[in-house]
């Protein structure tokens, strides 16, 4: 027996390690609501790096734009070029400020509409893998954020916080495969559940007999306990009704452009019921 153990020691150790990893994973599945000490520490340690790289990237992109202008300018009259370049730079800077102003104003208007405590935050990182849809924001528990809080922009629902460190949080987007939002069709109040499909959404459990058309707005129903009622989720892109069955298949395009997510609002309210999105 001892010889057998000795002979297959490596295999037994490997299996033991894999089994331990599996047990750790499955144990976390049951209690995935709270951030662990390990996660909070890693997020806290990497926060300055993420913010720094974000700033470096913005500055590098800005310098590259200016460099391209310089190449164009070589063919022009020096004086006019200098003037044009400066004017263009000023114009772009003004446009950038104007766009940021517009975005922030919309966010502010939206914040006033919401009539609940909110916290503005900036997106500083994205999911590290290609399969999941999460983003990292620059606010955390020190700012009053907890796990399960809804995150929104003026265009609609973004997601909910799933991991919170002192100054940084990770947000699970509504387009992630593990997200589901209780929703309804605004026009005729047909209820369903909006689930993430990566880049789009599907409205599940919408009764087949209910009339749903392309372009209809889908909003949160407020019954999921995370998002308040009436937040825009997306527009119906395609509807497919089979000859039989209880439900219809509805594809939804999110109202939020997740590839250009910069500033978001975190609604400082905890989930109302135990049901997660």
């Amino acid at each position: 027996m001892f010889d057998l153990l000795q002979r297959y020691r490596r295999h037994i150790l490997a299996c033991g390690l894999i089994l331990a990893a599996l047990l750790f994973y499955s144990a976390n599945l049951r209690s995935s609501g709270a951030s662990t000490f390990f996660e909070r520490s890693v997020l806290a340690v990497t926060a300055p790096l993420l913010s720094g790289l974000d700033a470096i990237w913005s500055s590098a992109a800005d310098s590259w734009t200016h460099y391209l202008w310089l190449i164009d300018a070589a063919a022009e009259n020096d004086r006019l070029l200098e003037e044009t370049r400066n004017l263009k730079a000023d114009l772009v800077a003004v446009q950038e400020v104007s766009l940021a102003n517009e975005r922030l104003r919309r966010l502010l208007d939206f914040k006033e509409e919401l009539a609940m405590p909110t916290l503005p935050a900036q997106v500083i990182g994205e999911d590290a893998s290609s399969w999941f849809r999460t983003v990292v924001i620059n606010k955390g528990s020190e700012d009053g954020i907890a796990e399960g809080m809804p995150v929104v922009v003026a265009e609609g629902a973004v997601g909910r916080t799933i991991r919170v460190a002192a100054r940084q949080s990770r947000v699970l987007l509504i387009t992630d495969a593990s997200s589901a939002v209780a929703a309804l069709v605004q026009k005729n109040r047909t209820r369903g559940v909006c689930r993430g499909e990566g880049d789009s959404l599907t409205l599940d459990f919408a009764l087949r007999l209910k009339e749903i058309e392309v372009g209809d707005l889908i909003v949160s129903s407020g019954t999921g306990g995370v998002f308040p009622k009436g937040l825009a989720i997306g527009h119906v892109e395609a509807v497919s009704r089979g000859d039989f069955g209880l439900f219809q298949s509805v594809t939804v395009t999110p109202t939020v452009d997740f590839s250009r997510l910069e500033e978001v609002l975190v609604l400082l309210r905890l989930p109302q019921v135990d049901e997660a999105i």
């Binding site: 390690l17 990497t46 999911d127 990566g198």
Partner: protein
């Protein structure tokens, strides 16, 4: 020194994947730098060092991806042991071995991801994985090729540098 190299490369890859790569690479196809590192660990490190490192990298990766802690810990561990178990069947002098194993590792990681999602989670991940599998595989192989070129260049440029595996990589891939 060896462990420090792995730790630095792992952390650098992780930060790169979470910040710069999403902005530089379109359509969510970020090359899996940590997966490449885990495959490399499978090629060059014995289980005593490689397995805990692979698991640690997985746990770190979990902090920056998905919603379930421990998932990538398990995945990377399985990928590591799979590479370790099969590496004896291949010709280790072949310059395409790492690239081939990275491609296999990507397929294995995706399959295991879908399997775990079907068993433990929502079960809705497979369409996303299927849609993005081929571009992801290409992105990983291209990134592995680029890393190999950088590593062999470093080895030539700094011959006294004793970064783990670089000597071997130089001998294998430079010809």
């Amino acid at each position: 020194m060896r462990l420090l190299f792995y730790a630095l490369f792992g952390l650098f890859g992780l930060i790169l994947q979470a910040t710069l790569l999403p902005r530089m690479v379109p359509f969510h196809f970020k090359p899996g730098l940590l997966l490449i590192l885990v495959v490399y660990l499978g090629l060059s490190e014995k289980a005593g060092t490689g397995a805990p490192l692979a698991y640690l990298f997985g746990l770190l990766f979990d902090v920056f991806t998905g919603a379930e802690p421990g998932r990538y810990g398990l995945l990377f561990l399985l990928v590591y042991f799979s590479v370790r178990a099969t590496v004896g069947f291949f010709d280790s002098e072949n310059p395409f071995l790492l690239l081939f194993l990275v491609a296999c590792g990507t397929l294995l990681e995706s399959s295991l991801l879908v399997f775990l999602d079907l068993i433990f989670a929502s079960g809705r991940l497979w369409p996303i994985v299927l849609r993005a599998l081929v571009p992801q595989l290409l992105a990983n192989v291209v990134a592995a090729t680029a890393l190999l070129l950088v590593v062999t260049w470093l080895q030539r440029r700094f011959p006294r540098l004793r970064v783990p595996g670089m000597q071997r990589l130089d001998e294998r891939y430079e010809s």
